[in-house]
């Protein structure tokens, strides 16, 4: 007789931590999704994905788990969109979905702490640092930063992109190669 393995319910701590993380997840989902309803659906998928993962393995760094889950769930949605768009255009099924990488071990960037990021930001050249701080830490839009620093909006976007690439280089130097570009 085959004994059915009883699924362990997720630890209460994990459920509480997920509840705490929900507002930040929703804020990130709002950046990615077309509207508030889709953002809520995405957060629901992310939480479900994380709870399923917790049934299979010991919880590691929750922030890294949630980031990976948000990435996987959002890319899956984008893949479905791309297939629908191609099908509507060509009348066929569209390109095959790209398999999403689900790394078995925690990615290198999960070893980076908020303090590492702060220290790396301090190493940026002032023109890049000013834009990054206003955007990343003070949550200003490109337009607001442009007005505050007297720059064109395009320049703000370009400097922010450069700041991110520079930060990535600094952090890779500190902790080794990170996933994601």
């Amino acid at each position: 007789m085959i004994a059915l393995r009883k699924r362990e319910p997720p630890a209460v701590d994990l459920v509480a931590e997920l509840r705490d993380a929900e507002p930040a997840l929703l804020a990130t989902a709002r950046r990615l999704c077309a509207d508030a309803a889709e953002a809520r659906e995405l957060v629901h998928d992310v939480i479900e994905h994380t709870l399923r993962q917790a049934e299979r393995e010991e919880p590691g760094d929750l922030s890294a788990w949630l980031t990976a889950a948000m990435h996987a769930c959002f890319v899956e949605r984008c893949g479905a969109r791309a297939r629908r768009a191609a099908a509507a255009e060509r009348g066929d099924a569209g390109p095959a979905p790209i398999p999403i990488e689900r790394p078995g071990e925690e990615p290198a960037w999960s070893r980076i702490s908020a303090a590492d990021l702060r220290a790396a930001v301090d190493e940026l050249d002032p023109p890049l640092r000013d834009v990054y701080v206003l955007h990343g830490f003070e949550h200003h839009s490109y337009d607001e930063i442009a007005a505050r620093l007297g720059l064109p909006r395009l320049t703000v976007g370009i400097r922010l992109g450069r700041a991110r690439r520079r930060l990535r280089d600094i952090l890779i130097r500190r902790v080794g190669r990170a996933d994601g570009e």
Partner: protein
């Protein structure tokens, strides 16, 4: 790299609206490079959220220090009451 790849950060930062944002979502569904870069942007965002949490904790921290500053005053008051108390 397609011209759309250059818009990923603008999309992630909420700087693309309507049809441009939707076109980017469709593009992310088929572009492995953008999918990898998106993972990096999400990781960066998680760190910024963590950093903001640490800053809030640091602001909330000094409260006990104020209590310690009051300790000598409270001690002197207690001593004065004890000395003035009729025996």
């Amino acid at each position: 790299m397609t011209p759309r790849c250059g818009d990923l950060e603008w999309f992630f930062d909420g700087e693309l609206a309507g049809r441009a944002a939707e076109a980017m979502r469709v593009h992310v569904g088929t572009c492995e490079r953008c999918q990898r870069r998106l993972h990096g942007l999400l990781a960066e965002r998680a760190l910024l959220v963590e950093e903001a949490g640490a800053r809030v904790d640091a602001i909330a921290e000094p409260a006990p220090r104020r209590a310690w500053r009051l300790a000598p005053v409270l001690l002197a008051t207690a001593l004065a009451i004890w000395l003035a108390w009729p025996r």
